[in-house]
């Protein structure tokens, strides 16, 4: 494997263009948390002619619902959730300039086409590696939808968040590539 790209948010078009499916990334800066319920609200706000709770241009959304924070800690365990459940809400965010998404698992054809069209990447973290990831989160700030509890939108300050590029802007997919390389006839 190649050395990891060290990236800092917000992501520029140049930074995104340099990423290829299968590359490792260590991400620092800010990411915004949102999962099913927060996405549903954001899209409902857009459909009603309203605005999003934060400007998505150049930003990265992390699909996560952390476990409760113990006293003295920054955050509870905070690993990625299945990205496919927010596929239906994603393309309108890409159209508004969202540059990166972090989750686990494959994306729909529509989201992959959206990444190619709008120049965004999908990064994956290891599902279940939630304590390891919590160690890389340095600060947490509530942004919106507090009533959603674990599903509220929060801004996380991260340092060297370990990721893999799953989908790049050329339409490559690490899941397809990896599977094809190791598939055998039993």
């Amino acid at each position: 494997m190649t050395d990891a790209h060290r990236l800092t948010t917000p992501l520029t078009d140049d930074a995104v263009r340099a990423l290829r499916a299968g590359d490792r990334v260590l991400l620092s800066g800010h990411v915004y948390t949102a999962r099913d319920a927060a996405h549903k609200r954001m899209i409902a706000a857009l459909d009603a002619g309203g605005v999003l709770p934060f400007d998505v241009r150049g930003q990265v959304i992390y699909y996560v619902g952390p476990s409760p924070t113990k006293p003295g800690d920054v955050i509870g365990s905070a690993g990625p959730t299945t990205a496919g459940r927010v596929d239906d809400y994603t393309v309108p965010l890409l159209a508004r300039g969202l540059k990166g998404m972090i989750g686990k698992g494959t994306r729909s054809a529509a989201v992959r086409a959206g990444m190619v069209e709008y120049g965004a990447v999908y990064l994956v973290a290891v599902g279940g590696a939630a304590a390891l990831i919590a160690d890389r989160i340095k600060r947490v700030e509530l942004i919106a939808y507090e009533d959603l509890g674990t599903e509220a939108i929060r801004r996380l300050e991260v340092e060297d968040f370990p990721l893999l590029v799953a989908n790049d802007i050329s339409g490559n997919d690490v899941y397809e590539q990896g599977k094809a390389a190791y598939k055998r006839t039993p």
Binding site: M1, G128, Y182
Partner: protein, 281 residues
């Protein structure tokens, strides 16, 4: 006749839900480290390294391995010569889950009703409870925490007798292929076969409660477990779906007598966390 206060059962559950979410039993650690050593795919190996490191961090920092701390499942093997005092068994099990999830800072992921309001119960109750009455004065609890990344990708159906063993192989591979990266591989594949539809599902779940490395006592089923493991690992999905030869850590089968007209089959996937423990009181 033996008397057991349900408070003892409550406290066992309360401790167990925290232990299984935070700590890794030695045999599971050995299994995952061995996969890390043997996996040829660089991305798959990196995923395994993160999985192993994560378990050490979770244990050292006393925090859950995964933010999805699951729905609690409790299997009770209750000796018929045991007299329970101090309250209801189901209430004690539920209270144990409530206290354990609160004390352990575990995520509360349960909604009170599945279709309309989906309002969170805020204490991760109720657990799913299965009680078996057994001979004697023993009382054993198997406590599991099931995340829904893998549960969502599980299924059950009834095959015809003509579909037979080949049908089971086809369906297991199809289920694992459909789950892909979503079930958080390396997965454990639980296969329940026979009985009726709900019995097959229960058997699949029970197979996931086995200790690492235990094969089915019937050599034909033990051989089929290994054959299915090879078929599943030939898919190339690999750790986390990044590509590799370790899609599954294990495949386990449990069976029950069934009707002349069918083969009920359930396939229940478990993520790499394998959170369960058995306690004898």
């Amino acid at each position: 006749m033996r008397t057991i206060d349900v408070a003892e059962i409550r406290d066992a559950v309360r401790r167990a839900v925290q232990t299984i979410n935070i700590h890794t039993p030695e045999p599971v650690m050995i299994q995952l480290e061995s996969i890390l050593q043997l996996e040829p795919s660089p991305a798959g190996r990196q995923a395994m390294q993160d999985i192993v490191d994560n378990r050490r961090i979770a244990s050292a920092r006393q925090m859950p391995m995964c933010q999805d701390t699951g729905m609690a499942i409790i299997f009770v093997e209750l000796g018929q010569d045991v007299h329970l005092v101090g309250g209801g068994l189901h209430d004690a099990l539920t209270e144990g889950v409530r206290l354990g999830y609160e004390e352990g800072y575990l995520r509360k992921s349960i909604v009170a009703e599945p279709l309309f309001e989906r309002v969170n119960t805020k204490d991760n109750t109720p657990p799913v409870i299965h009680v078996d009455l057994v001979p004697g004065e023993g009382l054993a609890l198997t406590v599991a925490a099931k995340g829904f990344g893998a549960e969502n990708m599980s299924w059950a159906r009834v095959l015809t007798p003509a579909e037979g063993i080949e049908g089971v192989k086809r369906e297991v591979v199809r289920c694992v292929e459909a789950a892909g990266s979503n079930a958080c591989p390396p997965i454990t594949v639980g296969v329940g076969v026979g009985g009726t539809l709900e019995m097959a599902t229960l058997l699949a779940k029970k197979s996931l409660m086995r200790e690492v490395g235990v094969r089915h006592p019937d050599p034909r089923y033990a051989a089929l477990e290994l054959e299915l493991l090879d078929l599943v690992n030939a898919t190339g999905i690999g750790p986390q779906g990044y590509g590799g030869v370790n899609t599954a850590a294990d495949v386990r089968i449990e069976y029950y007598p069934t009707h002349i007209a069918g083969i009920p089959l359930a396939i229940n996937l478990d993520c790499h966390l394998q959170r369960h423990t058995r306690i004898e009181l």
